[in-house]
Amino acid sequence: MLLGPIASGTEWHLFGSVNRDHSDASDIDLMILCESDVQADMLRQAIDPDSFSLPLHLSLLSFEEAATIDATSMQQSTVVLRLPPGLDHQGSPAH
């Protein structure tokens, strides 16, 4: 799965049974924190849930939203990927 610049600046978290390393996990709970609504919408379109080995439950939140509900603590998630900011989500260099 190649997402390219649309994923720049995002933070990927696993939670649920896969994050707890259960050998009998039946699905993958993935939360991606995004820099903007546009980026969240683009990632929803770009990520193919059928490309994963197990059924995917995908949550996309802005960093601001996640902070207001303390989503990472609430879901006891683990960061598995942190992508550096790069191009903005329209394809121009970020300022």
Binding site: D37, P49, D50, L54, P55, L61, E65, I69
Partner: protein, 214 residues
């Protein structure tokens, strides 16, 4: 390049969920063997947008009928009419991930999504609700005894975000209420605002029950 049925068979062989594809019928149904030798038939569709009755009816014309019909991609919707048809012939519908869940029931034709079954039962038992019908697999028309009918979209989310609400609108079109399936977690302020901007409401299960009364 193999068919989508080949693709599902290959995925089942590699995902370690103790399911085995033991045969393929002349209709191209997969014969799945689960734990304790429970065996059932799965038909695989590859409808890209909305599964309609016309897609599923041909699967049931022969003597062998599938207990479960799955569609790839899982993002595709199932129309209410297609769901009603599948249920009327004692079969079940779902995504590839539902094959393992259906196997666990040991009566795959009776498999129903746990979250949707919960919401349907709860709405049907509400004193102000007369009927609940599928619009899509996670969207329901709720006819009320007092008050107008409501379209309710259920989101499989622990925390409901603004993106969940926007994605629901993009996928299913109009709804009056978007409700999160989990009774835990939160609805963000941004999700509530996104719903309001669509003249809809983002609610928890409890909020939905209260809204159905008004």
């Amino acid at each position: 390049m193999g068919s989508v049925t080949d693709w599902v068979a290959k995925k089942l062989a590699t995902n370690g969920q103790q399911l085995e594809v033991v045969d393929r019928t002349p209709e191209d149904f997969l014969v799945i063997r689960a734990k304790e030798d429970y065996t059932f038939l799965v038909a695989v569709l590859s409808v890209q947008d909305i599964v309609q009755v016309s897609h599923v009816q041909p699967l049931f014309v022969g003597t062998r009928k599938p207990q479960l019909v799955v569609n790839v991609p899982s993002k595709a919707l199932w129309s209410g009419a297609a769901i009603d048809f599948v249920h009327s012939v004692q079969s079940a519908f779902g995504t590839m991930g539902d094959i393992a869940r259906a196997a666990e029931t040991r009566a795959a034709g009776l498999f129903r999504d746990r979250n949707m079954r919960f919401f349907i039962n709860a709405m049907e038992q509400h004193e102000n609700v007369s009927t609940v019908s599928y619009v899509y697999d996670s969207v329901f028309r709720v006819d009320r005894r007092c008050g107008s009918s409501l379209t309710v979209a259920v989101i499989d989310a622990y925390n409901m975000s603004a993106e969940d609400v926007r994605n629901a609108r993009t996928r299913v079109g109009h709804f009056d209420i978007v409700v999160k399936a989990s009774s835990y977690g939160s609805i963000t302020e941004q999700a509530e605002s996104a719903a309001e901007s669509m003249a809809a409401q983002a609610l928890t299960f409890r909020g939905l029950m209260q809204r159905l009364a008004r």
